[in-house]
């Protein structure tokens, strides 16, 4: 596997100048993490665990206090490569309303391309392509404020996608959406990932994390767990001790195991759970 993002022993703190004397709040404490090309990584953690800060390190919004971050071989400290880095790693935020700049959908999707200075005919092509990718092509001439939350978030994703980034980092993209919007976004994310885009999904929904190829759990500025969802969620007790939940299905199977029923402890999808229980009942 080819390494795409390398985070090497990174620490980061916010300085609060309003306090007297200024206080320092260290949110990342020596994080080391590699992300491979084409991976779908979910980053879990409760509030204040440093997961959003970690995301912002990936495209030079935050620069590490110590340590280095490499994106596709470029150090994020390298100012000459700033726009190359931001084109490589696109970022989508929580509130779709606060990411949309223009008053017409297609103009907003074109925003990043206009900034990079792409030729108008090429912008047109890429905007149409990005809008079709997220299934919003029919809405290209609509005003964003009249769309639903899920639709707006898809526009925001299209705006990033138009840059043709190799990696998309999403910082809780579904937190402000209703279940339908959440489903739309997850579908879009999995589709993009299947086409080779590296996805880093910051979330606090266990069900979303369960769909990733790899789950990284953060706690107090450090990486607590890192591995396949099955492996991570089987450690239910540890997750609960840092204020996180496990998917409902996992919770259920763990309860059943404790009650003496013979089930594997790494079930994370409902289908799998149903299948196992069905097998068990058939035997009896």
């Amino acid at each position: 596997m080819e390494k795409f993002i390398e985070i090497k022993d990174v620490s980061f703190s916010y300085i609060n100048d309003y306090d007297d004397p200024p206080t320092k709040n260290t949110v990342l404490k020596g994080v080391t993490l590699d992300i491979n090309k084409g991976e779908f990584v979910a980053v879990l953690g409760h509030n204040g665990s440093g997961k959003s800060t970690l995301a912002k390190l990936l495209n030079s919004i935050n620069l590490p206090e110590s340590g280095d971050v490499f994106v596709d071989g470029m150090n994020t400290r390298d100012e000459d490569k700033l726009y190359d880095i931001r084109r490589t790693v696109g970022m989508v935020f929580q509130n779709p309303d606060n990411q949309i700049v223009a008053t017409v959908v297609e103009e907003d999707v074109a925003f990043a391309l206009e900034n990079i200075g792409v030729e108008p005919s090429e912008i047109r092509k890429r905007v149409d392509w990005a809008l079709k990718k997220v299934g919003m092509y029919e809405y290209r001439e609509h005003a964003p404020h009249k769309l639903s939350g899920g639709q707006k978030q898809r526009i925001a994703i299209a705006g990033v996608l138009a840059m043709q980034p190799k990696c998309i980092v999403m910082d809780e993209p579904t937190a402000m959406l209703d279940p339908i919007g959440r489903r739309e976004i997850m579908q879009t994310i999995t589709e993009l990932n299947s086409e080779g885009v590296t996805v880093v999904l910051i979330t606090h929904y266990m069900e979303e994390a369960a769909r990733a190829g790899r789950v990284v759990v953060m706690d107090d500025g450090k990486i607590l767990l890192d591995g396949a969802p099955k492996k991570v969620f089987s450690q239910a007790e540890l997750l609960k001790s840092v204020g996180l939940d496990v998917p409902d299905v996992t919770d259920l199977t763990h309860g059943l195991i404790r009650a003496g029923i013979d089930l594997p402890d790494d079930i994370i999808s409902e289908d799998e759970c149903v299948e196992r229980l069905y097998q068990l009942l058939k035997k009896e």
Binding site: Y83, Q99, T103
Partner: protein, 269 residues
């Protein structure tokens, strides 16, 4: 409901006036204003009226909307009308009563000035009725971009206008929410005198401002993530192209101005 407000006073349509290049429309509006100001007599003004009437009929804007555009400016028209009527004393006297003296000169100036103001309003309204705010912003940026040489922030102004237009509906919606939230907490915004009601707005304005600043910060971050770095080296999705009809419109307008100049010279009534 409150979400559906129209921003500005754009009246969507596909008429010849709508389809003109917005930069040309800006230029034509300026030329039209010049035309009105160089007209010395009623005949010159009549040329302006014909021009306006032609543009208005082509645009397909309902007459009711055009009349509505004059309404806010009515007090000014009446006020200047009275000043002209009572303080200009040229020409033959019509009424003389104590200190009030109305002359033909005063009456003439009053009618002339009032028609000129009304025509001015019609002209600029026609521009905003037939051009969407965003297109207009775009046109302003492009028309002003040569001024960048003297450090005039054309791009920045246009960007600010775009963002303002984009966030008006969002903030209105938010105001609505905050008002409901404060009402649910027992805030009373409908009773009391003016001062009391103004004070009642504070619990709405403060959360609104806080939220607007937070939005601004997040938007700035999102813009940075999308490689925004000012107007330098920026391209645009939509290219404005001047079509033959734009030059026809320009030629016609110039002809009208020439007509006004000739009338000034040879028939200055």
């Amino acid at each position: 409901m409150i979400k559906d407000i129209t921003i500005g006073q754009y009246f969507p349509g596909k008429s010849a006036v709508h389809r003109l290049d917005p930069r040309m429309k800006l230029l034509l509006t300026v030329l039209y204003i010049v035309m009105l100001f160089i007209a010395k007599g009623f005949l010159g003004l009549a040329v302006g009226i014909i021009y306006m009437l032609a543009a208005f009929l082509m645009s397909g804007i309902p007459i009711r909307m055009m009349l509505k555009s004059v309404k806010p400016i009515l007090p000014i028209i009446v006020f200047t009308g009275f000043l002209n009527l009572f303080f200009i004393t040229t020409g033959d006297p019509l009424v003389e009563w104590h200190f009030i003296k109305i002359t033909t000169g005063g009456l003439k100036t009053m009618v002339f000035m009032a028609s000129r103001i009304i025509l001015l309003i019609f002209g600029t309204s026609l521009l905003t009725y037939t051009t969407s705010p965003i297109t207009l912003t775009d046109a302003i940026e492009r028309v002003m971009s040569p001024l960048k040489v003297i450090k005039f922030p054309a791009h920045e102004i246009a960007m600010m206008m775009t963002i303002a237009l984009r966030f008006i509906p969002t903030l209105i919606e938010e105001t609505d929410k905050i008002m409901s939230a404060q009402k649910a907490r027992g805030a009373d915004m409908e009773s009391g005198n003016v001062i009391k009601r103004a004070k009642a707005l504070i619990p709405i304005l403060i959360p609104l401002f806080v939220s607007a600043f937070r939005r601004a910060e997040e938007l700035a971050l999102a813009m940075e993530c999308r490689c925004y770095h000012g107007g330098e080296g920026r391209t645009r999705l939509k290219q404005l192209k001047t079509a033959p009809r734009d030059y026809v419109a320009l030629a016609v307008t110039v002809l009208f101005i020439v007509a006004v100049i000739l009338l000034n010279r040879f028939l200055p009534i």
